[in-house]
Amino acid sequence: MASVSIRGVVKSFGKTPVIHALDLEIAHQEFVVLVGPSGCGKSTMLRMIAGLEDVDLGEIAIDGRVVNRVAPKDRNIAMVFQNYALYPHMTVFRNMAFALRAARLPQPEIERRVHEAARILGLTELLERRPGELSGGQRQRVAMGRAMVRDPAVFLFDEPLSNLDAKLRSAMRTEIKKLHQTVKTTIVYVTHDQVEAMTLADRIVIMRDGRIEQIGSPLQVFQKPTNVFVAGFIGSPAMNLLTGTVHRDGDGFRTTWPGGPTLPVPARAVPKLTDGQAVIIGIRPEHVSAIDGPTRLPADWQIEAEIAVVEPLGSETLLLARFGDHELTGKGDGRTIPRPGQRQRFGFDLDHLHLFDRANERALT
């Protein structure tokens, strides 16, 4: 059983504040991913949980015990570092056994645990090698094995996949998820890659400038971003964000941006809107679809634009289109690929239109 509680934690380096009064409750067996751009404080937060950085204010509790003054080794945690931090002069076995030997476990128990972890991670053949003789993915697995043998209360991962190439990264992502399903240990995982966050997390914590912007399941933060930052950060390709205004139109509202079409606003947003309000309009590329041929979409949900850039992905095609001064990314099917300069009809799926107040960047929909 291990939960992690972060209560009002404040941290600064010299005069530079990096964490502003952060609160976060992580449940037992939960996989929580801290994600945000570099400098958002996510790594510092993780290092404070690990005990590698002091907490200025507030408290961190692991399993109900406040650990602010507890040394890293007594926190019952294990950490996987971005550069793996494998000791280059030791074999894989000795690397994985290091913590167990430090804990003075009997030799047969050490061997049993290391071999067990090696079996789960497919490292049995490599136990006598040194880190220098391993590939990036193998080193990554050894780093995880070193953490696993300790059977810790909490796993901490600090950008563990960022040194791997794209293909290996997605393979290791699956491995980590499998590992979590097997050992069911609480995991706090730091990354700047929102795809990793989406695919791995039970809950995502999106951070910016030392503050939490939103906490939620991957689908919650994707479908209901609470502000412009989260909307733009989560999802690939990124959500289109346009500076526009809303105007009363009978019972409802319509929204538009300079040079753009005038679109009806979904009814759920209506109560929060005022006539002439300055907004940011958000719509994901998958909800701006290229239309070839007949459609049942209402005419005012459609627009024609000039294609600027075409990015075929195989199963679909990303289309960068120009509406007056603005650009919008839309999607076409993979079958026909338009040429730049060509006129193309697009249909908006307005059920998925997001509106944000331009003054405070908070969601209105």
Binding site: L52, A71, M79, A85, A99, A102
Partner: protein, 298 residues
């Protein structure tokens, strides 16, 4: 000529330029280092007093060496300088570097202070230390001993104490160099190793033994080889602290001073060259042995 240069491959052109630049140091080393070395080997088989022709006498000089009690005394002295100087200086400099590495405040100033003796002229330092070793009222060390009620020590006047007394300033001067090299070695160890060990629950002693020292191995090999050679070739401290004779009773005389006296005191060039050749082989053997012992396992 120009045409043939242009027909060379890119690698060929780079080789031409590399050799052109290497030519100057090669000529320099050939004339100033390698030729005299070869000449010393030749002279060690001759009898020559700088005047007249060198007379070839075969291995007579080497036979004479084995029968010369002063040479054996001198050889033992030289080994003592290494056997004492190397471990003492390395342990001290490692301890200093280990803790200096943790100090942020005044780090640069302290490092400079430790390095200063290394930059100071050996002769000047030797003479200052010579004063420190004098009897009261001049000598500081004996003054301190007297103040705390201990008997005065003869230091440089004693055949037992003179060698360590001469070695002390040599170690002190060596420390600066070793500390700086150790610091560079310590800084090159990524912090994340220490953080990982911290989380893994390793204590300071285990971290030192199993992480810091093994990762410092290249630094250690370098320092052991360089420092052994330096202590084996000790000369200026002995010369300046013992009136140039390695006394009392040859108790501090190292090989290099013996060579110097044989060559430029008695002008016995052949015999001096033989001693030089012996020193050369001792240095070579010691260095090869150390590199083999300290080579990276596997």
């Amino acid at each position: 000529m120009r045409g043939s240069y242009e027909r060379l491959t890119i690698a060929g052109k780079q080789a031409v330029w590399a050799w052109a630049f290497l030519a100057v140091p090669l000529v320099f080393y050939g004339v100033v280092r390698f030729y005299p070395t070869a000449q010393a080997f030749y002279l060690s088989f001759t009898s020559w007093n700088l005047l007249g022709e060198a007379r070839f006498i075969g291995v007579d000089n080497y036979v004479r060496l084995t029968q010369d009690p002063v040479f054996w005394k001198v050889a033992v002295n030289s080994f003592e300088y290494v056997a004492l100087g190397l471990p003492i200086s390395l342990v001290l400099s490692f301890v200093i570097a280990y803790y200096l590495d943790r100090v942020r405040f005044g780090h640069a100033l302290l490092r400079a202070l430790y390095f200063l003796p290394h930059l100071t002229t050996a002769a000047a330092m030797a003479w200052v230390w010579r004063w420190l070793y004098q009897p009261v009222p001049v000598g500081v060390f004996n003054g301190v001993l007297a103040d705390i009620g201990l008997p005065a020590q003869p230091f440089l006047r004693s055949t037992d104490q003179a060698l360590p007394a001469v070695l002390a300033p040599a170690i002190w001067a060596m420390l600066g160099f070793q500390v700086v090299i150790f610091l560079a070695g310590l800084k090159a160890i990524p912090r994340s190793y220490y953080e990982a060990a911290d989380i893994d629950g390793a204590g300071a002693w285990r971290v030192l033994r199993e992480i810091t020292l093994p990762l410092l191995r290249p630094t250690l090999v370098f320092l052991i080889v360089i420092s052994s050679i330096a202590f084996l070739r000790i000369f200026d401290y002995v010369y300046n602290m013992t009136n140039g004779d390695g006394g009392p009773l040859d108790s501090t005389k190292p090989l290099v001073l013996s060579i110097y006296q044989t060559a430029f005191g008695r002008f016995d060039m052949g015999y001096a060259s033989a001693q030089t050749v012996v020193l050369f082989f001792i240095l070579l053997a010691l260095t090869l042995l150390q590199m083999r012992l300290l080579r990276k396992p596997r």
